[in-house]
């Protein structure tokens, strides 16, 4: 029996999701089984030769063979291999992070379903289906994002479903634009003299992706999700879901190469990216809640990615992808810290409630800061390597742009330094008695140390990752 590769990539996580749903009682088993499945398929996708077949017992898997559903083709292309592997490995890693933080959570089965949908979105040839699949994945994310805590992690926390609702609303607002864009671009291919079709398509596409990236003035959902959502799931949205959106944008540009030639998209990305970095930096510097700081730091990072794309060079695409690969490490560390700090005071993460929290949860504070420094693009981290490369590319064209983009990173750092001052402040015992120290889970501690180590290692030796990313970027012959 011959199986096409895309069927394995999509169907196995979906089947495993059903199994994990039945194993909800055993969190460790769920987490490890889910992570193992994702790592296995991710490795197969990364290593599989597309022009050859894999023989397993009576089954033959041909990764290069397309899967056809009602006339629509799902094909694994060379540039999809690293992308899908990134999504699978990141989700697998986040499952291990969530293992101790989200007992009996539906994040594990739903996460597998989401990653299968996102993989299908990247494999399908017509971008309209990709948009619909990304929408489905976004809606599914709402379930683990606002899952009520259970078991040992149950706490009296202030919860609101606004973050999930906003995420769903904004993603749905972006959907019509994405679907209609393809329609107009297909019409433009038939009527190449009708410039209105192209201009309308370009405007719709820009607005839709601006909404999905949380660009100014649509940044509201990013901060709200970071504020209300469960930390590991927030990391999942900001890395896996946003990563898929990023590659969907590259897919649009690759499918319609004349779009980038005939419409000044590069200029648009440049100004949008600069705006996101500068405003995001200012907002991050002014925050008094750690959750919002995470949201605005991500906004700055998204802006940096768009700026990298605006350079219209392969190096730019590579730098943007490098930023995306560095993000899960920084965000996972940051949210591990945030989750512990929130546990100190019933889920709140305002400066008022977290005064002196560093003395009660030193490791979580350290994790939050190291993750934050890495996300801000300061040394020594993989993000710094990517940001430094970006500043150099921008400075070659216009030095002011490099300075403006740097100001975004400085804004995030300023927010972190302000947070550190509050976290280190000892409150007077009369005004507010110091609470008990946070009992650290040893496994979480090991995870945090491991993440710090990986961030430092990749910061010192970024060559292996950057080489791989550059190779992938060279397949995107957009510019």
């Amino acid at each position: 029996m011959i199986l096409p590769g895309p069927l394995v990539i999509v169907a196995v996580p979906l089947a495993m999701a059903v199994v994990l749903q039945l194993l909800r009682y055993w969190t460790a088993l769920m987490a490890w089984l889910g992570a193992a499945t994702l790592v296995l398929i991710g490795s197969l996708v990364l290593l599989a030769p597309l022009d050859d077949a894999w023989q397993v017992a009576n089954l033959t898997v041909e990764f290069g063979r397309p899967l056809v559903i009602l006339g629509r083709r799902l094909v694994l292309q060379p540039f999809d291999q690293l992308v899908i592997a990134f999504l699978f490995f990141t989700t697998g890693g986040l499952f291990l992070v969530a293992w101790r933080l989200l007992p009996h959570s539906n994040f594990f089965p739903v996460g597998l379903m989401i990653v299968a949908l996102l993989a299908a979105a990247l494999l399908v040839e017509q971008v309209v289906y990709a948009a619909l699949l990304v929408e489905m994945a976004a809606i599914l994310t709402v379930f683990p994002l606002h899952e009520p805590s259970s078991g040992a992690a149950k706490r009296e926390e202030i919860t609101s479903a606004v973050g999930g609702m906003r995420y769903m609303v904004y993603t749905t607002l972006a959907l019509p634009g994405l679907m209609i864009t393809q329609l107009f671009l297909d019409l433009f291919a038939i009527f190449p003299n009708d410039q209105t079709l192209l201009n309308t398509a370009a405007v719709l596409l820009s607005i839709s992706f601006a909404i999905l990236f949380g660009a100014i003035p649509f940044q509201n959902w990013l901060s709200r999700v970071a504020l209300d959502g469960s930390p590991p799931v927030v990391t999942f949205i900001f890395t896996v879901n946003l990563g898929a959106v990023w590659f969907m944008l590259l897919d649009y540009l690759r499918t319609y190469p004349w779009l980038a030639e005939q419409v000044p998209l590069a200029r648009l990305f440049l100004w949008l990216g600069l705006l996101m970095m500068v405003i995001g930096g200012l907002l991050a510097a002014a925050q008094r809640q750690l959750g919002r700081l995470v949201g605005y730091a991500t906004l700055v990072d998204n802006g940096a990615m768009l700026l990298a794309l605006s350079t219209q060079q392969v190096e730019g695409v590579a730098l943007a992808t490098l930023l995306l690969i560095a993000r899960p490490l920084s965000l996972a560390l940051m949210t591990l810290g945030l989750q512990g700090l929130r546990r100190l005071d019933g889920g709140a993460d305002t400066y008022l409630t977290l005064k002196g929290a560093a003395w009660r949860a030193p490791w979580r504070t350290f994790a939050f800061l190291v993750g934050g420094i890495s996300l801000a693009g300061f040394p020594i981290s993989l993000s710094f390597v990517a940001r430094w490369g970006l500043y150099q590319l921008l400075a070659q064209e216009e030095f002011t742009w490099a300075l403006l983009s740097l100001s975004g990173s400085v804004g995030v750092m300023w927010g972190l330094v302000r947070s550190l001052r509050v976290l280190l402040k000892r409150p007077p015992p009369v005004e507010r008695p110091v609470g008990a120290r946070l009992e650290e889970d040893r496994i979480v501690l090991v995870l945090m140390l491991l993440l710090i180590l990986v961030i430092l290692l990749l910061g010192f030796f970024p060559q292996s990752v950057s080489r791989m990313v550059y190779q992938m970027a060279s397949w995107y012959t957009i510019f």
Binding site: L132, L133, I139, L140, H146, T159, A161, P176, M179, L183
Partner: protein
């Protein structure tokens, strides 16, 4: 032509003009009245009118229009259950009352309706008939009103579902294929489940 299809076509042709304004009136009730049962009843009626309009779209395949209506009613059922759970948890007596800041809402609704009407007159949507174009613009206006000015998860959710319906009408004209129609149905069902979940989850916490 099959006689059943012929009569369905004739009846829907007669009713479609009223159905457009039925969609609007149902939206107006949802926006102006704060009692959740009446709102959900109006939403149920809105899907009925949308079903009539879909029969114009799928004149050869009325079962598709029926399917879309049934899915809409299923969505209403899910929202009803979650709103009911929330009502029970809040232990408040449900009584009829107009929405807060009624004058503002009435003016906003009137303005958005005029905008939708003028947009339908001025901007011709490719391959879309006048009635369906007006419905699409009205649904988009209503969804923007619900999303932009409401706090209640259920009503914001109805805004999301209205937007998806508008997209469904517009896109079904362009691509009457089964796959996009099916995927849009799945998206609507998932969205309604998520809205129901979010409505209940705040109560659960």
């Amino acid at each position: 032509m099959n006689p059943v299809l012929y009569w369905i076509d004739r009846l829907s042709a007669l009713a479609s003009g009223s159905a457009v304004w039925g969609v609007f009136l149902a939206g107006a009730v949802i926006y102006l009245i704060a009692e959740w049962r009446i709102r959900l009843l109006a939403f149920l009626a809105q899907y009925f009118f949308i079903g009539i309009l879909f029969t114009r779209l799928f004149s050869e395949r009325p079962e598709m229009a029926l399917l879309k209506t049934l899915v809409g009613w299923l969505v209403c059922g899910a929202l009803y259950l979650s709103a009911r759970i929330r009502q029970d948890a809040q232990e408040r007596q449900a009584v009829f009352h107009w929405a807060a800041d009624l004058p503002f809402r009435a003016v906003a609704l009137a303005m958005m309706t005029v905008v939708a009407y003028l947009a339908a007159q001025r901007y011709a949507l490719p391959f879309v008939t006048g009635e369906l174009a007006l419905t699409t613009f009205l649904l988009v206006s209503l969804s923007l009103l619900f999303i932009g000015t409401e706090q209640d998860v259920v009503i914001v959710g109805i805004g999301v579902l209205n937007l998806l319906t508008a997209l469904d009408i517009f896109y079904s004209v362009q691509d009457p294929g089964l796959l996009v129609a099916g995927l849009l149905i799945v998206v609507s069902l998932l969205a309604s489940l998520a809205i129901s979940y979010l409505t209940v989850v705040e109560v659960a916490e």
